[in-house]
């Protein structure tokens, strides 16, 4: 079994991992999680089983890195309130700002379920293992999250 140059892995899976990180963490912390994920993946890559599902492997690393980034973000001092709001400038530009904002109002679990199932294409059973939950709970979280986004979609988006 041929081992691809790591560059090919970044090109093939970089976008999906970024979307997953953005969905789980929001735009500000997603870049750090992406960087940590691919650096860790590069380190471990030579010993990866050539038959492994590379995307699932990356998403699992991303999940761990998201927790790390989340923790260190929690330790960061709260921004001074009277400064102008910077988050807007860092959010990806586009016509989907409403949906982007809506996503961030979802509970963590629903965002994770959406990210790992709908964006990364993992089966619910696998997402359940990743999130240490049950398939039924994950299925419901994803469906509730989708429903809520759909409501907001009708309101805010055309």
């Amino acid at each position: 079994m041929e081992v691809k140059p790591f560059e090919a892995i970044v090109r093939e899976h970089g976008a999906v991992v970024l979307r997953v990180c953005r969905a789980v963490l929001g735009p500000d912390d997603a870049d750090d999680a992406w960087s940590d994920t691919f650096l860790a993946a590069l380190r471990a890559y030579p010993s990866l089983d050539p038959d492994a599902n590379v995307q699932a492997w990356l998403v699992t690393i991303a999940k761990r890195k998201a927790i790390d980034v989340h923790r260190s973000a929690a330790r960061r001092p709260v921004p001074v309130p009277d400064l102008p709001e910077p988050a807007r400038a860092e959010a990806p530009p586009g016509e989907h700002d409403g949906l982007w904002a809506a996503l961030q109002t979802l509970p963590q679990r629903q965002r994770e379920a959406l990210a790992y199932h709908h964006l990364a294409g993992m089966p619910f059973a696998q997402v359940a293992v990743l999130l240490e939950s049950t398939e039924t709970a994950i299925r419901r979280a994803a469906s509730d999250g989708m429903k809520k986004l759909r409501t907001l979609d009708a309101e805010d988006l055309r």
Partner: protein, 200 residues
């Protein structure tokens, strides 16, 4: 609301973000000693050249006709799969090649990693570096230079498998009957290089 809408929303501005993240990754990987092979592709009068370097030095120059993807796949197998496109490490080789093709550089002054040429091939490659700009040598002459006058065919093979063409000038080795001989980059590329050097 569909998965596609969600993907579109989260993918907004993604190309620019990914390009930026990619260069951050390459820099971090180099810093952590995880970038075993860095590569870039540069244009030249003999087509697009793939340049690859390990931390020790330039390890591979490849012509387009060799298939850059195939060359990278072989590097993943023979050196390490920790390969990223990282032009920073190749800045010096790119600059010197540009000078060479502009006619202002007669000798490359670069750290080379010759690990892809072993045994007699390595000896030949090392002696090839002594064949000066604008001059040529026959395969028999090269075999003699390499200390094995009888190994003409092996010297030819060593040229054909030179991991660092252009920089290690196997294009300066020609047939003793005056014909130009084969070349990794095609005989057209060989003729271009020889004409360019003769004119300078």
């Amino acid at each position: 609301m569909t998965t596609e809408t969600l993907e579109a929303a989260l993918g907004a501005g993604e190309d620019a973000a990914l390009a930026d993240l990619h260069s951050r990754l390459a820099a971090a990987a180099a810093k952590e000693n995880l970038l075993d092979v860095a590569y870039t592709v540069t244009g030249s009068p003999v087509g697009e050249l793939l340049l690859a370097a390990t931390p020790e030095g330039l390890v591979r120059v490849a012509f387009g006709v060799e298939g850059h993807d195939a060359v990278l796949a072989r590097l993943a197998e023979t050196i390490s799969p920790r390969i990223l496109e990282a032009p920073e490490r190749l800045a010096d080789p790119v600059r010197q090649l540009r000078e060479y093709f502009a006619g202002t550089r007669k000798r490359f002054d670069l750290p080379l990693d010759l690990r892809l040429a072993t045994g007699f091939r390595r000896t030949v490659v090392e002696h090839l570096r002594d064949v000066g700009y604008g001059s040529t040598v026959s395969y028999a002459g090269l075999a003699a230079l390499s200390g094995s006058p009888g190994a003409v065919r092996a010297a030819g093979t060593a040229c054909a498998r030179n991991p660092l063409p252009v920089v290690v000038p196997c294009h300066r080795v020609v047939r003793s009957d005056g014909k130009i001989g084969n070349y990794l980059g095609g005989s057209g590329a060989k003729a271009t290089l020889l004409e360019m050097e003769a004119a300078a």
